[in-house]
């Protein structure tokens, strides 16, 4: 029995990665849920929007690196992030003007808008692959670890090490900062309140003199910022590969739906729920259990519930279970 080492192992392999992944999912799910709340459709192009924002950031990062601009121990990508956000805002406002606005004026059914967003997905996917290619791109620099396993062991004298990557730290801090900012905006500012009013009841909001086009425009801008930040953080933490962003769509939607579509608080809770379940179900528990249990009971196998290849299946199972027992999500979502 060695509780301290067991806890450190747990922290190192489960809690820290799941916190980072959960923050990324939460930021992605916030974007999906905002679009659902204001524009009232499920945006399948969200994954590729993230890829686009991250791509611009990667390109600007490379430019900065070639100029010799660095951010001390932090990744240069943080400096490039505002440019990525700006480009993404431009892209989303342009798509809205060219594509979505027509259907909004027509009051088209939500499912038509979903199909339209599929078309946008195709186009964005083509653009991203055309510009940066389909391969893995590395744009991470700066210090790799906040605490590396070795320094931790030397500091504490424990058997197990605890490693926290810089990207994981940045991810969680950025997510907290962004979410706080978003909630302040939605709850305290006039524009934020008008957005919530529009989301709750469109007709009533129109009667009170809220300009719908302005609400929609601000929504797209916020969504662009959220998507780019989520995309860049994911790219820094794992690696930037256009196709993976499309596959993120399922966990992101699962997070948004599990929390209750249209509910920002739910998106965050859903993101962490999905991330923690994915990591715990696919983690091999052998090491932790060996520390916890007396020697005679130590497990032989890996004690892994599912192989890591089935991560997607985990988010899907949670989605189905929540939908069957609580069809509008944990926090009450809305339905079109």
């Amino acid at each position: 029995m060695d509780i301290v080492n067991a806890l450190i192992t747990l922290l190192n392999f489960v809690v820290v990665p799941a916190m980072a992944y959960g923050s990324q999912l939460a930021l992605g799910a916030l974007g999906v849920t905002l679009i659902y709340g204001i524009l009232r459709f499920s945006n399948f192009a969200h994954g590729d929007t993230m890829a686009f924002g991250a791509m611009v950031t990667v390109l600007v990062t490379w430019l900065f690196q070639s100029w010799g601009i660095h951010l001390w121990v932090l990744p240069t990508a943080l400096l490039a992030l505002p440019f990525g956000i700006l480009a993404c805002i431009g892209l989303l406002l342009a798509t809205d003007r060219v594509v979505y606005r027509f259907y909004r004026e027509q009051k088209a059914k939500p499912v038509i808008l979903v199909i339209v967003s599929l078309g946008v997905t195709f186009v964005l996917n083509g653009i991203v692959r055309f510009i940066i290619g389909p391969d893995d791109q590395n744009f991470l620099d700066g210090e790799r670890f906040i605490v590396s396993a070795r320094t931790f062991r030397e500091m504490t004298g424990l058997e197990e090490g605890l490693a926290i990557k810089t990207t994981q730290g940045i991810t969680v801090i950025t997510a907290v900062f962004v979410v706080a900012l978003l909630f302040w905006f939605l709850n305290r500012t006039r524009t934020g309140k008008s957005m919530r009013a529009y989301s709750d009841n469109e007709d009533l909001a129109l009667l009170s003199g809220i300009d719908p086009e302005r609400v929609v425009m601000i929504t797209w801008m916020i969504v662009a910022a959220l998507a780019t930040i989520a995309g860049v953080l994911y790219g820094l933490d794992k690696s930037f590969k256009p196709f993976t962003y499309f596959q993120l769509l399922l966990p992101i939607f699962a997070s948004a739906i599990v929390g209750g579509l249209g509910n920002p608080l739910g998106a965050i809770a859903g993101g962490f729920l999905i991330a923690f379940s994915e990591v715990t179900v696919t983690y091999a528990w052998k090491k932790v259990l060996t520390y916890f249990l007396p020697e005679s009971l130590a497990p032989d196998g890996l004690v892994q519930l599912m192989s890591t290849d089935y991560k997607l299946a985990v988010s899907f199972m949670i989605l189905i279970i929540v939908l069957l027992f609580k069809p509008t999500g944990i926090f009450r979502g809305k339905s079109v």
């Binding site: 038509i112 339209v116 078309g119 946008v120 195709f122 186009v123 055309f130 290619g133 519930l305 997607l312």
Partner: protein, 433 residues
């Protein structure tokens, strides 16, 4: 213009386009487009049944197509006797235990009163079932995968005729569609979309990782074919002599012959399905489906069981996609789970249905042909245009990057086509009547 005349003109134009490929590229390429066009048309028919008739939004087509492919392996490959002896019983036993656990859990939820006791019993049952399942299943998997892993390492199929795999593909897809439909169809429309998107990814993940089933990413090659092999034709003196009279060499003749044979088989399947779909559309059942699509509340008030009808048509449409998937794998004569990508196998089929005209079976068919034609030819045209653009450029990174990116132009073009059609002609080429 009279619709019949217009539609005939459209199909004639499509045939012309394919003939142009035959004249300017090669007849082999043209027949390749015809074969995949026929398969695409069948997939589009299946999706049109779900979306056009009933308004069900299924974005998991890729999963059903892949299941069809899996069925080809399970039906037509010869069984691997050593593998069956090594772990066949254990595998089946494990799967049965898993199934029994799920059935028991469902029964338990239905029979017991809600409360803490039920939750406790359910959790205990699921954990016990899972441990037992893994205990029986895992050793058998290792045993099976150890049998001659370079070329086998899986259970093999039943060794039945290749053509039988097509209906089996449909049945397999239908069975999975039943499970999904039972759980997800009562929910809202976009939840069905997410559920199908997820299940498709999971089916692919299972096919990639469960090596005992169909060798996973190691791929199964050399599936039995319902048509003769090119090499046999080339060694057949009668065949060579017959084509030599017409001035065609044996290699070209044999490839054309095989492709034509496939085209005949595929066309037969398409025609049968098309007739059935047309009959269904114009039957009272088809009218009811469209009534449900246009106004669920009103249809329900008329006493129609909306959920049951949705389940029915979801299964039918998915089964058609399964048949098409089996046909495609037979044409490729190999199963490689790595090729299944959602943009290619789900969204491209959606583009076919929307561009062709949702709600019209002939629309789905022409959409299947036209979009597949574009999908193939955009790359050819893109290469040509890109060569033109870059011809004046100096050799370098930019030039090679531009030339490499041509392959990705396909997605861009398809997206633009879909958006343009949705905006300016949302009823498609052959609108619903």
């Amino acid at each position: 213009m009279n619709p019949v005349l217009r539609n005939t003109a459209l199909f004639a134009a499509m045939a012309m386009l394919i003939c142009l490929v035959g004249i300017f590229q090669s007849w082999n390429a043209a027949l390749q487009i015809v074969n995949m066009g026929l398969i695409s048309a069948i997939m589009a028919l299946g999706v049109n049944l779900q979306w056009g008739f009933a308004g069900l939004f299924n974005v998991g087509i890729m999963g059903f197509v892949a299941l069809g492919g899996l069925a080809t392996v399970l039906t037509s490959m010869p069984p691997v006797r050593e593998a069956w002896a090594a772990g066949g019983a254990g595998l089946l036993g494990g799967l049965l235990i898993g199934l029994a656990t799920i059935v028991a859990a469902v029964l338990l939820v239905r029979r017991m009163r809600p409360g803490k006791l039920r939750l406790l019993a359910l959790t205990a049952l699921l954990i016990a079932g899972f441990i037992l399942y893994r205990a029986v299943f895992d050793p058998s998997v290792d045993a099976v995968e150890a049998v001659n892993p370079a070329i086998q390492g899986y259970l093999g199929g039943l060794g039945l005729p290749a053509l039988l795999a097509w209906p089996v593909g449909g049945l397999l897809a239908a069975a999975v569609a039943w499970v999904i439909g039972k759980t997800a169809l009562g929910l809202r429309s976009d939840y069905l979309a997410i559920a199908t998107l997820g299940i498709a990814e999971i089916i692919i993940a299972v096919m990639k990782n469960e090596d005992w089933l169909a060798r996973g990413v190691k791929n199964v090659v050399g599936l039995p074919r319902p048509v003769p092999y090119e090499i046999d034709l080339q060694n057949d003196p009668d065949f060579v002599a017959r084509w030599a009279e017409r001035g065609v060499d044996a290699v070209t003749a044999s490839t054309l012959y095989v492709k034509l044979a496939y085209a005949g088989l595929f066309a037969a399947v398409l025609i049968v399905l098309l007739i059935l779909a047309q009959r269904a559309l114009h039957s009272p059942w088809g009218r009811m489906m469209r009534a449900i699509r246009d106004n669920e509340v009103a249809a329900e008030a008329m006493g129609k069981d909306v959920t049951a009808r949705h389940l029915q048509i979801f299964i039918l449409g998915s089964a058609i996609c399964g048949i098409a998937g089996a046909m495609m794998t037979t044409l490729d004569s190999g199963l490689s789970p790595g090729i299944y990508q959602p943009l290619r196998f789900t969204f491209l089929v959606w583009v076919m249905v929307i561009v062709g005209g949702s709600g019209n079976n002939f629309g789905a068919v022409i959409g299947g042909f036209l979009i597949w034609f574009l999908w193939v030819e955009v790359e050819v045209a893109g290469q040509w245009i890109m060569n033109l653009i870059t011809s004046g450029m100096a050799e370098g990174a930019l030039k090679s990057h531009l030339n490499d990116s041509v392959a990705h132009m396909k997605f861009f073009t398809m997206g633009i086509v879909l958006l343009l059609v949705l905006r300016f002609s949302p009823r498609g080429l052959i609108p619903e009547r």
